[in-house]
Subunit: 263 residues, 2 copies
DNA sequence: TGTTCAGGATCATATATTGAAACGAGGGTA
DNA sequence: TACCCTCGTTTCAATATATGATCCTGAACA
């Protein structure tokens, strides 16, 4: 693995719940030598990708990422496009909707919206990492990714989050296969108890899945009628969103989706 | 210079006006060997910081920057904070206001707002690179940066944009010195003809300038009264914004600014 | 006072980076 | 069709660079 990838991999450790990381903390997180870490972090800081608290000396993400995201969004207005779909989804089913993109360690939520008419809500944070094997977004993503990617994810130890999380590679593969066949993934309290969610991928110009959109609701509210409503809304949105992004939906998925919407 | 910095430097070449860059184009832009470039670009792509058009093979910024900017904004809500100030500034003087952060090659605008009640407007794009020596934002930034940084900028050839652009290091240094003494920088048609602008820095926790806010107006409208109004609004906003960011305004600037607002 | 932590310096070793050159896929032209 | 470009990609040997171990400094903390 190149030095570049190692250094950039360090940025993945930052999250909303872990915004600052010190040198020693990095050492325990990564297992990399202290000297090497210090060199890499310094390089990232010099480029503006990290900044350092002047007293605690801890690192956090720097201002350079702001420009990149603005330029990226001007190049490909993905977030802006996705936002309007999520807003409409959340409005139409009156539940939490969100969109996520794949990263190395899981799906990263990039936008979420809760219509919020109910007393109980699904709690959710953007920039949260959603594990592939335990969330509908993750399963939906894997179901339309290369088998190599799937194998890579399944070859690592699969953490358990609730009593019903599938932690056996074979079980997860079954979920993936089912999602691939049906064009939609679901998760029944496999990441958070009392939460059921559905997710579909959306596709890019190459016909590859580039992200997912999902709806999550408390298990108590997710009866067959709501499940059907969510599934249909997601499939319709997945179709339309892929088109908006000038994406190409793989033929067999296009067929399955179209069939579902007809009925 | 480390490999990491070289590779990350490649990302700086992407902008709103140059969203896609092919390998050969990179070669002419950077002068780096083709093989080396390919290796670096591939590493960046593997990390998600670039993505590649599957037919043209050109690179553009990838989805990984989205997550970083969300995490960054959750860590330090700089953009969000700045936006409200820019909105108010633009509203109060009825001219274009914008905020910018320093990058290696110039100030990068991160947010702009034009009240837009006038027929003639200053044209402006976010993510644009504003040269340090020719814009009020650049001068305001340099005026409150280390002299090392200033020297580094002034040691490079200074491009001319209009007939009145200061391209001599000594002249630019004079502008910087004046801005440092007065607490506010101005630019009279030095970047775009018929545009006059004013800018002040805002400060971070270390007492260092972390960015600038500015107002730009057509020269025809910028009379003494408007100039005074802009300056006062900027100074007040610079004070308040620095405080909002839990920043520390260097004593001598705090004094100059306070004095200006008293009168 | 003792401890923890960031950072800096040094150095032998192993490894990754480099640049040149060759390769192969398209796209155009005659 | 044959030829010639250009462009992205791969290969490889030489070498520059990264690595990780060790020791040291100084600051913050209890």
């Amino acid at each position: 693995m190149s030095t570049i990838e190692k250094a950039l991999g360090l940025l993945e450790y930052f999250s909303a719940s872990r915004p600052d990381i010190g040198l020693s903390e990095f050492k325990t997180l990564t297992g990399v030598d202290k000297g090497t870490l210090h060199r890499h972090l310094t390089a990232l800081r010099n480029c503006g990708y990290l900044e350092q608290h002047h007293t605690t000396r801890a690192y956090r993400l720097g201002p350079a990422v702001i420009r990149l995201s603005i330029v990226r969004e001007k190049t490909v207005p993905l977030v802006k496009t996705v936002e309007s779909y999520i807003d409409r989804l959340s409005e139409s089913v009156q539940e939490l909707a969100h969109a996520a993109l794949p990263e190395k360690k899981g799906m990263t939520s990039i936008y979420s919206k809760d219509a919020g008419s109910h007393g109980t809500r699904v709690s959710f944070d953007e920039a949260e990492i959603l594990p592939f094997h335990a969330t509908s977004s993750g399963i939906a993503m894997l179901a339309f990714s290369d088998q190599d990617v799937v194998n890579c994810v399944l070859s690592k130890p699969l953490e358990s989050y609730t009593t019903t999380t599938a932690t056996d590679a074979k079980d997860v593969q079954a979920l993936i296969t089912r999602a691939h066949a049906s064009g939609i993934a679901s998760a029944n309290q496999s990441y958070e108890t009392e939460v059921i969610s559905y997710a579909v991928p959306f596709f890019g110009a190459d016909g590859e899945a580039i992200g997912t959109i999902a709806i999550a609701a408390p298990a108590s509210r997710m009866d067959a009628a709501l499940a059907e409503q969510c599934s249909n809304a997601l499939v319709a949105a997945g179709q339309s969103l892929s088109r908006d992004l000038s994406g190409h939906i793989p033929p067999h998925i296009a067929g399955i989706w179209a069939k579902r919407l007809e009925s």
